[in-house]
């Protein structure tokens, strides 16, 4: 894996000498009294596959439309390659967009759709054919060149839209929920195809999505947005393992959140008293907390071990009763009710066949996890 060789890891955001391709500087966008994007600062680097993730109405699409030039920021500046893009109309920006509805021109063939932007560029006429052919090959659409958009399938249309937006070799490609209209299986295949194409062309991609799995799969970095603000910008692993807030932890994947009062015990450890009479949770802190401060302990279900006996190698051991089991084939999720009333989800891989499964409903079990398995959040 790439992690084995630290020099090869693609992480321009950690290199202070790298100049970003896109820079949002205090960008605000208001529609009437509604603030869609709120004083936002963000750098996106060349070659990145950057995901804007958030629920609908969080401002991610507005952010993208400002890059494309369909919306003007109310305040602040957007720099693309050190050029302020504000005065540049959409048709002059070195940015192309793949629309959520694909927006293929229904009266033109696949070939003409892909050639559409090239014909309006300064590319010589005899080169256009070659470029279109190259795009058709890249997206495996050669045999559909003569068809009209309504004569091909949804997945093929999605690839035509991608080919058309890549044809002009933009500095930046914007993808607005590009896989939203595809069914699950096709979506997963297409995700890998997108990554492949992004790697082959070396284009910077910015993708807008509300699907956290999609963002995690394709992106080099993910920006989680809420109410027009960036909540956290980090790599998929960073977002998942070290969320900076309950909002992010809850938005990405499954999580148990336990509220309690902090009692720092020195050397980066903290005890969290979450219920009267219960053993406090031992955890490691990321940011300093004061004694008695209200904190949230977030832990992913798969980090919790479920067993008949407490695991002596893990710092936290709590007893509970199996309330529910969701058998998903490869894994099982147990919903365990603690003696203090809290409900905790824990996940175990089903390494054994079902017939030899250890516990069933109403069984007494021990939940164990290490003091570094979860994160302590203050907001």
């Amino acid at each position: 894996m790439a992690e084995a060789n630290p020099q090869k890891v693609f992480a321009p955001w950690e290199d202070p000498n790298q100049a970003p391709l896109i820079r949002f500087e205090g960008v605000t966008k208001k529609f009437g009294t509604f603030t869609a994007v709120d004083d936002l600062n963000l750098d996106i680097y060349r070659g990145e596959f950057f995901a804007l993730l958030g629920p609908s109405g969080c401002g991610k699409t507005t952010l993208m439309r400002m890059l494309a030039g369909f919306e003007d920021p109310t305040m602040g500046k957007i720099w693309l390659d050190d050029v302020d893009v504000a005065p540049i109309p959409p048709n002059r920006r070195p940015v192309n967009m793949m629309f959520q509805s694909y927006a293929l021109f229904p009266h033109l063939t696949v070939w003409d759709n892909i050639a559409f932007g090239l014909k309006r560029s300064d590319m010589p006429k005899d080169k256009i054919g070659d470029r279109v052919q190259e795009m058709l090959r890249l997206t495996r659409l050669e045999q559909f060149a003569k068809r009209k958009p309504h004569q091909i399938s949804g997945g093929q249309r999605q690839r035509v839209a991608l080919a058309r937006s890549l044809a002009k070799a933009p500095k930046l490609l914007l993808l607005d929920e590009p896989l939203g209209a595809l069914d699950k299986k096709l979506r997963q295949e297409t995700q890998f195809e997108l990554m492949d194409i992004q790697e082959k062309t070396g284009t910077t991609f910015v993708i807008v999505t509300h699907d956290q799995e999609e963002a995690m799969t394709v992106a080099t970095r993910v920006a989680v947005m809420d109410h027009g603000k960036l909540v956290q910008v980090a790599t998929p692993a960073g977002i998942y393992e070290t969320p900076n807030s309950v909002y992010v932890a809850d938005f990405i994947g499954e999580v148990n959140i336990i509220e309690g009062a902090a009692a720092p015990t020195g050397d980066g450890k903290v005890d969290i008293a979450f219920a009267e009479g219960a053993e406090p949770i031992h955890a490691t802190i990321g940011e300093p907390v004061t004694a008695g401060q209200k904190v949230f302990f977030a832990i992913r279900p798969e980090k919790i071990h479920v067993g008949r006996e407490p695991d002596p190698t893990r710092a936290n051991r709590i007893r509970g009763k199996v309330h529910d089991i969701a058998y998903l084939g490869n894994i099982s999720t147990y919903r365990v009710e603690l003696e203090t009333g809290q409900m905790i989800s824990a996940q175990m891989t089903n390494a054994r066949r079902l017939s030899r499964r250890d516990f069933t409903w109403e069984d007494e079990v021990w939940l164990s996890w290490t003091d570094t398995a979860g994160v302590v959040l203050t907001r």
Partner: protein, 272 residues
Amino acid sequence: MNRSMSWFNVTSLTLGFAFLYLPMMILIFYSFNASKLVTVWAGFSTKWYGELLHNKQFLDAAWVTLRVGVMSSTAATILGTMAAYVMVRGGRFFGRTLFSGMIYAPLVMPEVITGLSLLLLFIAIGLDRGIFTIVLAHTTFSMCYVSVVVSSRLMTFDRSLEEAALDLGCSPFDAFKSVTLPIITPAVISGWLLAFTLSLDDLVIASFASGPSSTTLPIKIFSAVRLGVSPEINALSTIMIGIVATGVITTSLISKNAIRRQRQEELEGTKL
């Protein structure tokens, strides 16, 4: 439908259609009458159609009508499409509601008033009445019909298609020309045909706007009928019915086909 129609339904259908079309059927029937007397049947003949070809007055009037129709409906289509585009795409601007209301107002305005006001305008600016003034008048009143037809198409038009065109390097005008216009063409043609048909059979406004040298067919027929109905008029009217019917049927076929195809495309777009 499997069920055969009830006695009541058959009767109402027959009565309704008779009410609508019996007068026209009689007119068409008598246009093939050999006799010079309109109401006395004297055998089948197409001689009145032949006679029509030698009647210079009618031919002149028909030529005027045709030219007025083509010019006014073309002008109305251009203006009406532009107005529709601004109303649907212009977003919010000051006075938008007033503007769209004013575009549709001529739809319900009594023709006499439209005609009279145009006449006053032409006199006020010293414009000699002739073909040109009829064209202007017809453009004025048929433009709103075109804009109704075109704006209803534009409302269902996926805006991102235009944005995609801009994104791929089109100027706004180029985007309109190479993406929007080809897609809304059926609606534009429908609008043109509608305007043409309206211009073809307008009597009231044309009689206000026409001069002595420029008589349209409806005016000619109207004044000829006052001297007595002739089989020639019947023949001429039959031809006009034919032209108008063709126009209306084509319009409805175009829009029906376009709507069906669009639905189908949308259906295929959602179902994968």
